[in-house]
Subunit: 244 residues, 2 copies
């Protein structure tokens, strides 16, 4: 058993002020997983065993475990222990499920600017890559806006439309970025809108974008798409104003 410890092993180096014991344990746990070649489904040692192995108190180990749990890397069950999982994606979405805490205004603005970059400024490449099937599917997706039952569903359709649009680029990195931003994008879409707004304005704006694509009119595409994005952000800003 680790006696008094406290002094810890002989490793005074590094800047100790910025590195907390919990962070060290987190790093050690990562190393442990990597070194042991642990895969999803395997179990970590018990908390008490980790204490002696890392020479840390149980509370410290538990706080480190909380971090891994929050990251969706492990799943802890009483009596069973910590099982390695890979729910990081789901966690990423949960980050924004805290509807109690509003996503900051700047976050919205930044995301919207990035969307403009991705969707509008790559218009040339979209036009270069797009096929007839892309346009057909976009129309099919947009048609779903007629049947939406609530805002939530509408924003999902809206998101699908834009996701399908950039999928034309065939760029996985961009798709990944879009996936991560999805929770925020959904919120932007929902802000200041009603079910009716989606079924009319949003629908027609999308149609306009598709029409521009079908006509291979790049300038119209850019103009309408950018305008569409701006409208969404304007709605959002107004609602923020009212709240304040």
């Amino acid at each position: 058993m680790a006696a008094n410890s406290k002094g810890n092993e002989t490793a005074p180096d590094v800047s100790p002020s910025t590195v907390s014991a919990v962070d060290v344990v987190v790093a050690q746990l990562r190393s442990l997983i990597a070194d042991e070649g642990l895969k999803v489904g395997d179990n970590l040692p018990t908390e008490r065993e980790l204490c002696v192995r890392f020479d840390a108190s149980r509370n410290t180990v538990r706080e480190a475990m909380r971090i891994l749990k929050a990251y969706g890397m492990v799943e802890v069950r009483p009596k069973v222990g910590a099982t390695i999982t890979d729910n990081r994606m789901a966690r990423a979405f949960e980050l924004f499920s805290f509807n109690t805490m509003e996503v900051s205004r700047k976050s919205f603005a930044d995301v919207q600017a990035l969307r403009d970059l991705i969707e509008v400024r790559s218009a040339d490449r979209i036009f270069e890559m797009m096929r007839g099937q892309d346009i057909d599917e976009l129309r099919a997706i947009n048609a779903n806006l007629a049947d939406i039952r609530d805002i939530q569903e509408a924003s999902e359709v809206d998101y699908s439309f834009h996701r399908r649009l950039i999928s034309i680029l065939g760029n996985n990195a961009i798709m990944d970025v879009y996936s991560v931003m999805k929770p925020i994008i959904l919120r932007i879409m929902q802000k200041g809108k009603t079910r009716r707004t989606f079924m009319t304005e949003t629908y027609f704006e999308h149609e306009g974008v598709i029409d521009a694509m079908a006509a291979r009119d790049r300038l119209a595409f850019e103009y309408r798409l950018r305008n569409h994005l701006m409208v969404g952000f304007k709605n959002f800003s107004e609602e923020m104003e009212e709240k304040a």
Copy 2:
């Protein structure tokens, strides 16, 4: 199947993880933030005050705080306390980055395309936002290429240059994306280059970009920067060919 056990009737079903005390505190913290209308920058009560307010032990409060910290919702400093932040997007991207360890050739191409989008296609905004200090700092960073000792160090400087460049946009989402892509970007930069290449070609290409900024010549900026990115990727592609 998992032994049902738990003869208890009418279990609240959903939320299988049983409501642990930590989860309760997390929920209470969320309510607290919402009810008090706390914004980014505000401070939460001290741990001990939260203990009495939520009737929980300090360990429980701390574990709950670890979760919020891991989610990028609060930032805790000794003596200062927990300050509300909104780094959730950065966390989301971090989580996501773990999945992209498998870097295929297409991944490189996709990342490079995204870099083109971010750096070159936002030239107008860069020119709109940039100040004299930005140019000075870019020159200072690029000057470091003269002292680099190895490829690793050189690529770090190279990355810093580009990161500083896009920081002019003042867009956190874009900065987060760039941070996530850093490992891949570094590999792209290192491919097909030598220490000498960095000290000569890369250095002068960067200087050319800075000169264009100083002269407020946007077309030259776009041309040189895009060319710079293409050169880097061309080197990379050639080395990939040889290896294959």
